[in-house]
Structure formats: C-alpha cells, structure tokens
C-alpha cells in the first residue's frame, strides 16, 4: 500500500503537517509510536481519578493561522479565558493580568508605571519579530526576491518607527534579560518574573547575553489575539490535541498509533517510505518527520546517507532537555493567594541566576525556581493536581536521576510548603519527570521540548542548521516539520504548517 505522504510523529506539529497535506488532496498516513496522539500536548490519568497534562500545560502561542487552517474551533478546541500569572515570592504575591501584565496587582504605582514602559518596549520588539517567526525561514545564499523584499520591508518598517526604537532594537536584540529588567524595574518579584520567563526551557541564565531573546520569543506569541496572553486549556492539553486529531481525521488523514518507525527507507538517495519496528514497510512519495532533526537523520536515516560534515553538525546539536516536570495529586485544594492561573515561584532575578549555576555542571539547584499550574477539572471533587515546570534540570545529571528526582522533589516541595502551608500533607501521589523520563515516556527526543536549543545561534536561518533551514533535509523527499525547525518550540503548529506548505509548493523534490 502506498501513500502520497507519511508523517512521523503525531504531536501537534505532525498533526498539523498531516492535516494540511491531506487538505491538499494528498493521501496521508500519520504514524505515532505512542498509544495516543498529542506528543507533548496530552492529558493522562497519572493517579487513580487524577488527570494532568504531563508535559506542556499552558497554551500561549498556538498560531491563529494554524487554528483557522485546521478549523480547530470547529473540531472542539476550547481555550477558555486568559489566565493570569502570579509571582509567589517571600515578599508577597504580584498578579499579572491579561497579556503578560497589562494590569498588575500588588506593586507600587511607580513600579507599575516602569513595568508598563518596559512591557511596551518588549511587546513592540516582539511584534516586530513576529512576522519573521511566522514565515518560512530562507536559506543563506538562496534568497528569493520575496525574501529580499520581505527583509527590506521589515527594515523600512523598523526605521519608520523612529531612530530611538530602531536603535533600541539593534542594541537589545542580543542583550541579557537582566540588563533590561534592572534598567527598568526595581521590584525583585517583577525582575524575577521577567528573568524566569526569558530562560525557561533555555540553557541560559538571566545574566547570559542573548537571554532577552527567549522573552521576546515568548511575547511574540499569545492567545485569543492578546500578545503575551496564556490560557490553561479546558480539559487539559489533551483536549487541544484531540481537536488537532479530529481535524486530521476530517481531512482524511489515516492515523496509526503504536506504530514505531524504525527506519526511513532511502533508495537512490531519495526517501521512499518507512520501515516500522515490526519490520513492515510502508511506501510514500514524501516522508515528513515531526521528531527531532537528530533523531530523524542520525537515527532513522543513518549516517551512511548523509554528508560527513552534516553528521558532525547534527551530532553536536544541543538537544538535551533542561526542564523537569513535577506532577502532584492533592486530596485538597491548596490556598494559593486566592488565585488561579500560572504561578511562578522565584524571589529575585539573582535567585533565578543562582538556580541556573549548578545546571552548567550537571547538577540540580538546591533552591529551584519553577512555574506551575493548578487544575481542579480532572480530579475528584475537592481535590486538585499541580503540574510544575522546573528549569535547570539537566538531562545528564552527575549524581544520576534516581537520586536527583528525590532531591529536586524535596526542594520544590519545601518552597511550595512556604507558600501553601500543609500542601505536603495533602499530596497523595507525586511524580517527577526528568528530561530522560520525558524522553522515554512521552517520546520527546532528549527530553527537550524544543528538540534543539532555542539559542540565538539556532534560530531563523540557522535553525536547526543552515543546511536544513528551509524544512527540506538533504535527502530528497524527506522534510522536517518539528520543533527543531524554524520557528521552534512551544505549542504553535507553525513549523508543521510551514513545512507542509513547503512540500505542497514543491520545495521538496
């Protein structure tokens, strides 16, 4: 049996790519190794009666183009209202309402004004970058007239904003978030939040140059048309994935779960299909992979079909995760400053920096900073779950994750206990997912949400490598569509959408 296209991996990007390809009239097979779709966007019962989204837990950059192309709302996508961010600090909470704090509670009025100034500058810069992130990245040396016109247009747009904004962007694009936060703000809690949001998921601390870019990336997203906005989706991330899957099925995608791709079949230097773990072979004219570039090319294609330089470049791609998840089932609802939404636990920018330090050496911090969401919807009455993201938890831990899981859980619980006394006693089940666990349980390569670091040297035309920047791999017929491709990680669906469009446009030979 033969298909027009096989898509490997039914995460949100694989689902998007498959759907768009099927919408174009192609016969598409979507293969997922796990028993269910969703990849990093799913919801599971992790303890009897308790449901949680074990990997991604908020939606903050699902792209409007993806929502409309896949008609996700028609297929059951329900995002709900914007969730605030609450900074829990030892000096009392700050609440950021709307899109990244268009209104603040809990700070002095002068600080509120300074925050507004900074936010305006950053949102302005993020908005300038948004078009770069939505369109397909061009490759060096292969700029089309469209690319050149786009770049010229952006440059003119920027200059028309006036000399000051122009200069600010050129100066700040590669700066560290600490310099900006300290320039504008004096409240430790707001500085901590800016720092945390910039470095979550990165291998950078707030004082590392280029760390502001992480924040600009975050602010280039948003939901419900609100830049910087976020929601904790109704029914968890699984419900979001379900709407993607419904859209795929409606478009005629054949979806097969439990189908683990062992190899991509290459004949005469062309991808012609896949071989599954059970030995069966499926052929197609195009193969599109949503898993990481390293797993796709080094693992499934194999070095024999690749240029030696490319093999070296792929093998040093930074693809090891740096964020752990802690899932808690609670038999009571903790009191968290009377708020709901996303919580960030960090006292100061320097504390974020100190938490980052040990991760450089393969150690976990004694005093972690983290974000979490609390959800009561998928639990028995009067109970709740907490899902926390803890940055600076390196994949390769010196002491080993057997010890590390206990140490990190204890450190996180100690901080939670301060903000919600008694929470420790209400825990009925706790599970720490280190990056290796995210890899083995949820198929996230390297346990890295972004597949490849979202560092300045791995963005735009350099993502994941300049040879692979246009979604097409060096093997004809093989396209990359995952988070390792431009624009990168987060539940946005843009890499899936762009990759599929590039196949349709005939970029894939």
């Amino acid at each position: 049996m033969s298909f027009d296209a096989i898509v490997i991996g039914a995460g949100h990007n694989g689902l998007t790519a498959a759907t768009v390809l099927a919408q174009s009239g192609r016969k598409v097979l979507l293969l997922e190794a796990s028993v269910e779709v969703g990849g990093g966007a799913r919801t599971i019962e992790f303890h009897l009666g308790f449901k949680v989204s074990p990997v991604a837990h908020v939606v903050n950059r699902l792209h409007p183009k993806v929502i409309s192309t896949l008609k996700l709302e028609k297929h059951g996508l329900e995002l709900g209202a914007l969730a605030p961010t609450v900074v829990l600090s030892s000096t009392g909470p700050v609440v950021l309402h709307g899109g990244w704090g268009d209104r603040l509670d809990g700070v002095a009025s002068e600080e509120d004004r300074k925050w507004g100034e900074m936010r305006k500058v950053l949102l302005g810069q993020a908005a300038f970058l948004t078009p770069f992130l939505a369109r397909k990245a061009s490759q060096f040396g292969q700029f089309s007239w469209r690319d050149k016109a786009f770049l010229a247009g952006r440059a003119v747009t920027l200059r028309l904003k006036g000399r000051e904004k122009f200069e600010d962007l050129l100066r700040m694009l590669l700066i560290c978030v600490a310099d900006v936060a300290e320039e504008y703000l004096s409240d430790d809690r707001l500085q901590a939040l800016a720092a945390f949001d910039a470095v979550l998921g990165q291998r950078l601390g707030p004082r590392s140059p280029t760390s502001l870019l992480g924040l600009l990336y975050k602010l280039s997203g948003g939901v419900n048309g609100v830049p910087g906005g976020q929601v904790v989706p109704i029914g968890g991330m699984g419900a979001v994935a379900a709407s993607f899957a419904a859209s795929a099925r409606a478009a005629g995608v054949e979806l097969r779960c439990g189908a683990n791709v062992a190899r991509i079949l290459v004949e005469d230097h062309r991808a012609v299909g896949v071989i599954l773990a059970d030995g069966s072979e499926v052929r197609a004219r195009q193969v599109v992979s949503a898993t990481s570039p390293q797993a796709t090319l080094l693992g499934m294609v194999g070095p024999a079909h690749l240029d030696a330089g490319l093999v070296r470049s792929l093998s040093i791609l930074p693809g090891k995760g740096n964020v752990a998840k802690l899932l808690l089932a609670l038999d009571g609802v903790p009191d968290l400053a009377g708020m709901a939404g996303r919580f960030v636990v960090a006292d100061s920018l320097n504390e974020v920096e100190r938490a980052f330090n040990p991760s450089k050496y393969g150690e976990v911090p004694d005093r972690p900073v983290f974000e979490f969401v609390m959800d009561k919807s998928g639990t028995p009455d009067g109970a709740a779950v907490i899902s926390a993201c803890i940055p600076f938890a390196p994949y390769d831990l010196k002491q080993g994750w057997d010890k590390g899981r206990k140490a990190l859980t204890k450190a996180v619980m100690a901080r939670l206990e301060k903000h919600s006394p008694g929470i420790g006693k209400s825990v009925v089940h706790a599970e720490l997912l280190a990056p290796p666990d995210l890899e083995s349980k949820y198929g996230i390569p390297g346990g890295h949400w972004h597949h490849v670091d979202m560092s300045a040297d791995r963005m735009l035309m350099l993502r994941p490598l300049h040879e692979l920047a246009g979604y097409q791999s060096t093997i004809p017929g093989l396209t990359l569509c995952g988070a390792g491709s431009h624009p990168g990680g987060g539940i946005s669906g843009i890499s899936g959408l762009n990759a599929a469009q590039s196949v349709i446009a005939g970029d894939a030979v």
């Binding site: 040396g141 292969q142 050129l170 930074p318 100190r354």
Partner: protein, 539 residues
C-alpha cells in the same frame, strides 16, 4: 590666554595616538594627564628598587602595526619581542604546552588526543577566517545604521558586500560564531578538557562573562586579531615593559612638536551653548581648546567631567546603562630567583610564555559564579608571565619580575567597597595557587603589588577597574559602542570627542580607537589625513 587646537584629556595609549596623529596633521595639541607620568594602563613603573613592573597591561599583540609605522614608534624606542611558548599546568602534574608553530602545537595536542590534534587544523582555519572578516573593521569608523547619510550607507554596503563574499555555509558559521559561548564553540572541535580550558581563556580575559556565556566566542577573537611582526595571533613583550609603548608615543608626539602636561587632572569640560571650549583643571586653571578629546571612559567623561544638564536625557540614560564591569585584578611580583615548576622539563621554552593553572572549562566557569555572587574567585584563573625571561632590561640578572593577571575579581566585595584586608586576602588566594605548583615560591618573593578594581580605578581612572573601558558584548560593539547614535567618536556636545577603548573597536592596547577618533576630528576640520597610512586589509 592661549587657545590650543586640541586638548586631549588623559595620556593613555589611545589619547596619545590621537594626539600624535592630530599634531602630525598640523594641529597644536596639548595632552593633559592627571598622574605624574603618561601611559594610562600601559606603563612601566618602578615600585621597588631594582625592578620595573608592567603593572597594568602586560603583553602586546593588538597594537596596530599601521600606527606603529605611521608614528615611527620603533625610532622612538619601541621594540616588541615575540614569545614562543606558554603552558597550562594540569592538576595531575602534567602540562599542556602551547607553541606559535602550528605543527608543534598540533603535536602537543596529539599527546592528549589525536582527534583533537586533527580538529586543531580545522579550528585554526576557521578562527583565521573569522579574524579575516573582523580585522579590517578595526580601523574603520562604524556606520550609523539609522542614518541616511551617503557615508553611512556606503559603509553599510561595504559590510554587506564583505559578508556577501562568503559562501552560505560560511555566512551561517560566522553569524553563529558571533553569538556563541566560547565553551560551545570549542565543544564543536575538541574533546580534551585541558585543551578546551587553554583555548577558552582568551574568551573571558577582561570580560565579566564566563566561558559558558554566549558572546564569549567573539571575545576570543578579540584576542586573536593582533599580530607581532606580521604574525597574526602572536603575542609579545614590549622591551622595558608596556610603558615602552606609551613612552615611544609620547616621544613621537613631542618630536612632532606636541606638548604633554603631567600632574594636570581635569576637573570639568567647559561647555557653553552646547559647545566645548576647553577644560578646567583640578587646581582651578582654565585651559582653552577648539577641540576637546577625552581618553577617559564614556562614564567618566559624560557623568563626571561634563555637567548632566548639557546633555540630552536619553543620552545620559544610555551612558548610565553602559556596562563597564570590573572583572579582573593584577598581582605584580618581584622575585629574587626564577621560580621552579617541577611539571616542566628542564629547558622548556614554556616558561618564557603565558602560564596558567586552570585546566577545565568548569573551573573557569565556577570562578565566574563566585564573581556573580560578589566575591573574587576562590580558584581564580591566572594569566601569568615572567617577561624578564625575554627582556633583561627590567631587572638585574638572576632576578625576575612576574606579572599575574587574575580573573575574576569584583568591583565591589558583596556590594561594599574593597578594604585593605580584602585586597590582602585576594592576593593570598593568588599566591597560594601559584605556590601549589611551584615549591618554594613564597620564599622568592621580594615585593608584591596587589591591584584590585579599586586600585585600577583610583590610579588609571578606569571605571570599576574594567580594562576594556566597557564590556565587549553585542549591545556594546560596533555601532552600539559606546551608545547607539554616538559610535563615531563624537558626542552630543559640539567639539567634544571621545577616543578611548569605550569606543569602537574596544579595549586592549590596540590604538585603533585613538586613530579612528583622530580621523573623525580631522574630517570635521576638513583637513586631509595624509599622515595616516592605509589600514591593511589582508592578514
């Protein structure tokens, strides 16, 4: 009262370079220096009888050969002695030597890892390609990307063309290189800790960043683009100490008719109606000049010497936010005999070069973590030299001067000012690290001078003791250095210029900022630049 054509505030190497070029172009120039000697951070001082210290900067490579030629510095006594060798001691009693000769260096790498030896060829080739891209930019004024003047547009086009000459792959690699950490950069090539540590050192010297901070790969390049006698990437000693460079500059300046006044600290730049008219000295004396050029760093110039009300608010804010962070200290030691390093074989040339004890990137980075916490590194990185091995003019036979550059050292100790006790403890940290590798080291010490950022600021006038007059991060390079819109050596005040390392292309005893500033001043005066030789483009 006499009105000078130009007054230079500060007789550091850049101030003197500007002064020389202006004087040679027919201007009547006065250099005002607050200390009783000229030289700024390139000085040779006699602090104990019988020894000459290069007590701030200590090696030479970056100083532009074009300037040396234009200003006839060899004629005025400057001699640079290239050194071959150096090593990094490892904790297991071994060492990694470094040699100027590529093949010899490669063989040394092979002793640790044949794979790294092979990678070294690739590494050297790539590094020299990056250098080739950057080096010509040193002697050019950075374009203002926000401006529509033909000169800025044509300069931008020049940059674009230069970039466009590369292949797609090279463009990608160049862009990546600019934003990478030196640690990530080296991981692409090497596997051996000590090799990476040895190469990473150049990525952090003078910088308030660790080897794992993005942007440090560029700093590595900043230390590679120099040359000694046409040999790119080589380093050398100035015979007679680093003061020989500024002495030669001062002699060249005076020979062409210039005037130097030492012991003349400037209190204020006199500004009327948005124009500078001269300076007020610390004693109350007024000196008038048509152009005033400050060799002081951008913060000292605009926040101390100029009244804030004479400057636009946005400019003042940007200057206040200019990052100039002290990250290093210096220990200068007079020795009554040559220290012994048992790890080195007898007669090894390594002792003539730079010696280090930091054998892993992690140790370097942990040193930076201490700095971030407001302390000097418990296990600091030392860049140590014994220039008297090559230059007998600095002390009597058998005796030696040792220069120890130390990183990291904070401008303030956990937020408070340095005390003498802190300084002594810092010095002790350094001496004990050396003594671990060199038995009997302490007994050889005749005299030592410990310099923290406090001393560097007080004596040389470097804000926070930052040796580059400002961090070399992207937000402070090229057209952003020192602040956007004022990267062309001019200031918001008419006739007031800056010529120090706060300006493009930045720090190091390079002289390029001074030369570029002189060119801009002459441009404003509509004078030719005949005394400037062409900057050479090829390495």
């Amino acid at each position: 009262m006499k009105t000078w054509d130009a007054i230079i505030i500060g007789g550091g190497h850049n101030g003197l370079v500007t002064a020389c070029y202006l004087q040679r172009s027919g201007l009547d120039v006065l250099v005002l220096e607050k200390n009783d000697w000229v030289g700024g951070a390139a000085v040779s001082r006699s602090l104990t009888p019988g020894f000459t210290y290069s007590n701030c900067s200590y090696v030479c490579s970056l100083f532009r050969p074009e300037i040396m030629r234009d200003l006839e510095l060899p004629k005025h006594g400057l001699q640079i002695i290239g050194y071959d060798g150096g090593c990094t001691f490892t904790r297991d009693g071994d060492y990694l030597a470094n040699y100027c000769d590529h093949d010899r260096h490669r063989r040394e790498f092979a002793r640790f890892s044949p794979r790294d030896a092979e990678a070294y060829d690739r590494y050297a080739r790539d590094a020299s390609r990056h250098t080739r891209f950057i080096q010509p930019l040193l002697m050019r004024t950075a374009p203002d990307p926000a401006s529509f003047r033909p000169r800025d547009i044509s300069e931008l086009l020049y940059l674009g063309r230069k970039f466009g000459e590369m292949s797609g792959k090279q463009m990608a690699e160049t862009l990546r290189f600019w934003t990478m950490s030196v640690s990530d950069y080296l991981d692409q090539y090497f596997e051996t800790d000590v090799i990476k540590a040895y190469l990473a050192q150049s990525g952090i010297i003078g910088t308030a960043l660790g080897p794992m901070s993005p942007g440090t790969a560029y700093v590595l390049l900043h230390h590679y683009m120099g040359e000694v006698d046409g040999s790119t990437g080589s380093w050398g000693y100035a015979r007679g100490g680093m003061g020989a460079i500024t002495q030669a500059l001062a002699k060249s300046f005076e020979a062409s008719g210039g005037t130097v006044r030492t012991g003349a600290g400037v209190e204020q730049v006199l500004v009327r109606n948005g124009r500078s008219e001269g300076v007020l000295l610390e004693g109350g004396e007024e000196v008038r000049g048509r152009k005033v050029v400050s060799n002081a760093d951008v913060k000292r110039t605009f926040l101390k010497l100029v009244d804030e009300k004479d400057l636009p608010e946005k400019f003042v804010n940007r200057v206040k936010n200019f990052k100039i962070r002290g990250s290093s200290g210096k220990v200068n030691i007079a020795l009554d005999s040559l220290p012994v390093f048992p790890a080195l074989p007898d007669g090894s040339p390594c002792i003539r070069g730079d010696l280090h004890f930091t054998d892993t990137v992690e140790r370097l980075e942990r040193g930076y973590d201490d700095w971030k916490a407001g302390m000097w590194s418990k296990d600091p990185f030392l860049d140590m030299m014994i220039p008297t091995m090559m230059d007998p003019s600095m002390t009597s036979p058998g005796k030696h001067f040792m220069s120890v550059f130390v990183q990291y050292c904070p401008p303030k100790v956990q937020g408070r000012d340095w005390t003498d006790a802190d300084r002594d403890a810092f010095g002790e940290t350094v001496i004990s690290q050396i003594a671990e590798y060199s038995p009997g080291f302490r007994d050889r010490i005749v005299h030592k001078e410990v310099r923290t950022p406090r001393e560097l600021e007080a004596e040389v006038g470097l804000t926070e003791g930052n040796i580059f007059q400002g961090e070399l991060t992207f937000d402070q390079l090229l057209f952003n250095r020192p602040v956007p819109g004022y990267a062309q050596y001019r200031s918001p005040i008419q006739n007031l210029y800056i010529c120090g390392s706060s300006t493009h292309p930045g720090g190091g005893v390079m002289g390029a900022p001074g030369r570029n500033a002189a060119k801009e001043i002459l441009r404003d005066l509509k004078r030719g630049t005949l005394s400037f030789s062409e900057a050479h483009d090829v390495i």
